[in-house]
């Protein structure tokens, strides 16, 4: 069975939505744009598409290999589609959490967080090195258990499209209780924040339930506006540097490592481990308690 590439069809909608948001912000809606920042974001998006076209066959080959060695074959029905979407979203949560907690994956993912703005163009600021960082491995178990790779790609595309629309400041809160189970613009603004309270929170793709379940959820506080970006914001709009700066930093730190442990932690430790400013340290310096447990969140 074949599925369309939903992202391909969504691109004109993305562009139209960016134009609408720009005009809305100009007319007083909450949010901000900078033409240079958006230029970098859009160029990163184009570069990511090119990188995907060049390296995607590698991922496809690995996926096919796993499909040939799958332990079951799940039929494509509405039920398995829904199940695939939910499990793919869980796989995204795991990937995303690793992408913030392990420097190897962060080196690729940091690109998406490197803007100090939060608008729909920021959503397109995507990595060029996702395949190199092996970030695709998190979805591979789903193929192994029997989900058709085409269905998985389709679900991943829908997930990506949903996430595009939550990169906005124009929407404060979703109505009808949706905030309690869906990832929302508010929840994802927190995720893009560098405020100590917001660091490394809300990893969800579509369903925020994963963060609530696993103790990584943080509400957006209206009295603490989100400061967007990364702990060490980039000093340039150069897309090539945006794409590779953390890889360069990691290589330098690796070369300077004095022990095997230091070398391993440089790659597999959390971002900031070398300089001593991990998110845990930053939170502690700000006098924040350890992240709330899943039980505490459930009790709220």
């Amino acid at each position: 069975m074949t599925f369309p590439d939903p992202v391909k069809y969504a691109i004109p909608v993305f562009i139209a939505a960016i134009i609408v948001e720009m005009i809305a912000v100009r007319r007083g809606a909450r949010g901000s744009y900078d033409w240079r920042d958006s230029g970098t974001s859009l160029t990163m998006g184009l570069g990511s598409t090119i990188a995907g076209a060049l390296l995607g066959t590698t991922v496809f080959s690995i996926g096919l290999y796993l499909w040939e060695h799958r332990i079951a074959t799940l039929p494509i029905t509405w039920v398995t589609f829904a199940l695939c979407f939910v499990l793919d979203d869980l796989a995204y949560y795991v990937f995303h959490r690793a992408a913030h907690r392990v420097r190897w994956f962060w080196a690729s993912h940091v690109i998406h967080h490197s803007s100090q703005h939060y608008n729909l163009s920021t959503a397109l600021r995507q990595t060029w090195t996702g395949v190199i960082s092996l970030s695709f491995i998190f979805r591979m178990p789903l193929i192994l258990v029997g989900f058709d790779p085409a269905l998985l790609l389709f679900c991943g595309g829908l997930n990506l499209i949903y996430q595009f629309f939550i990169h906005t400041e124009t929407v404060r809160r979703l109505p009808w209780g949706l905030e309690s189970w869906l990832n929302s613009p508010s929840h994802h603004r927190v995720h893009h924040g560098t405020n100590p309270r917001y660091l490394d929170r809300n990893y969800a793709g579509v369903l925020i339930i994963w963060d609530r379940m696993f103790g990584t959820f943080e509400l957006e506080h209206d009295d603490e506006p989100v400061r967007y970006g990364i702990v060490h914001n980039l000093g340039t709009f150069n897309p090539l540097w945006a794409a590779c700066h953390e890889w360069v930093g990691m290589a330098r730190d690796l070369a300077a490592a004095r022990s095997v442990k230091a070398a391993v932690m440089t790659i597999a430790g959390p971002p900031g481990w070398v300089t001593g400013d991990t998110s845990a340290v930053i939170r502690a310096r700000a006098g924040l308690s350890p992240p709330p447990t899943a039980q505490a969140i459930a009790a709220e």
Binding site: I19, D34, W35, Q116, P196, G229, G235, T236, R285
Partner: protein
């Protein structure tokens, strides 16, 4: 493929020009030492700002921390980028303080600090 790439590039240029045309092209200016101190404290974890020197054009500043760190503020687009500049190569030239950081792709800074330039250079 070439056509697709050309169209994508044209789309990027169009959106950038539209953003500029809509006025999203501001360059920030510091209103004074208090704003510089707040930005530095927000950007560097645990940074307690003390002395502040804002450049004559309001486009950059140095903020000394109580722990000896010195933060440089400089604009990037309509936002600010902050760096701890201890150890940076500093040169004073006619009331201007030139700073060169070892960080790749971080352009040298040039602050018009007047008579204070030498004092700040000595702190780095």
């Amino acid at each position: 493929m070439i056509l697709q790439l050309s169209l994508s590039l044209a789309g990027i240029v169009f959106l950038m020009l539209l953003a500029r045309w809509l006025g999203f092209d501001t360059d920030p200016r510091l209103s004074g030492p208090d704003e510089a101190a707040r930005i530095a404290a927000d950007a560097i974890a645990g940074f307690a700002p003390g002395d502040v020197a804002v450049a004559g054009d309001g486009r950059s500043a140095l903020v000394a921390g109580s722990d000896g760190r010195v933060a440089l503020l400089r604009p990037l687009g309509d936002r600010w980028v902050v760096r701890d500049v201890r150890g940076a190569a500093a040169r004073v030239d006619g009331g201007r303080l030139h700073l060169a950081l070892v960080e790749p792709m971080f352009a040298p800074a040039d602050l018009d600090l007047g008579a204070d330039a030498g004092r700040w250079a000595a702190r780095l």
